[in-house]
Symmetry: C2
Subunit: 110 residues, 2 copies
DNA sequence: ACTTAATATTGCAATATTACGATAAATATA
DNA sequence: TATATTTATCGTAATATTGCAATATTAAGT
């Protein structure tokens, strides 16, 4: 089939999966990394930093935006993309939550 | 084409993407959640907790294992799966790193 | 209005993922 | 050894993703 059965899972699980999926491609991780490294947000040169054609980069940016990881503003004939801190914090909280629970368990049977 | 150009990205970006991709499906997030909630690691009943058939669950477990998020041991005719703490810590560190850098920047132009 | 520059969209081919029925493999128990 | 139980694998259909050339859109400058 190929279609994920999102209906059958909790909102929380779907939300984490959506964010994680958006970062499930090295190009998109690289984009986040790049956005983090630049001070100015005129980000047209992301294309130059990646080994991908412009339409492909544009598509990756769209996916990051749809997932809520980045936000963008039109800025003349350039676009300003920024990381959306809320999404990062959500992921950070999620993983530190798991980490904390694992510490408490300490039944490392495997 | 459909094939990710992993060759062209850094190992760090590929590593994060691999972990994130593994969590890019609600069923796999749910599996992690479940593994976290049980004390005993006899995990055959993951199938009962998910709205998916047994082969599908088995496949998701395999992907989580390949990505390094869980590890498993054969335990009689049951399998014991556990979360691999190292992977969680790696993700936690990654996201808190981003969060920290964002705090320092504070050039939220979008 | 015309041109230039930057980004987005469309269309399409190649590949990957998701899901499951059928079946196999492995192990425990009778 | 035969049977039940549990997990894995195979085969296959449906859908999604990735990547890019061609084209469209948008806004700035001339």
């Amino acid at each position: 089939m190929g279609a994920t059965k999102t209906d059958h899972f909790t909102d929380k699980h779907n939300a984490i999966a959506t964010l994680a999926k958006a970062l499930g491609h090295p190009a998109r991780v690289a984009i986040i990394d790049y956005l983090l490294s630049v001070d100015t947000c005129i980000c047209g040169d992301i294309v130059n930093k990646l080994p991908l054609a412009q339409p492909t980069v544009s598509q990756h940016l769209k996916e990051l935006k749809n997932a809520g990881l980045i936000k963008g503003n039109i800025e003349g004939n350039a676009i300003c993309y920024c990381i959306d801190e809320k999404a990062i914090v959500r992921l950070q909280t999620y993983f530190s939550g798991i980490s904390g629970k694992l510490e408490k368990k300490k039944t490392d049977c495997c």
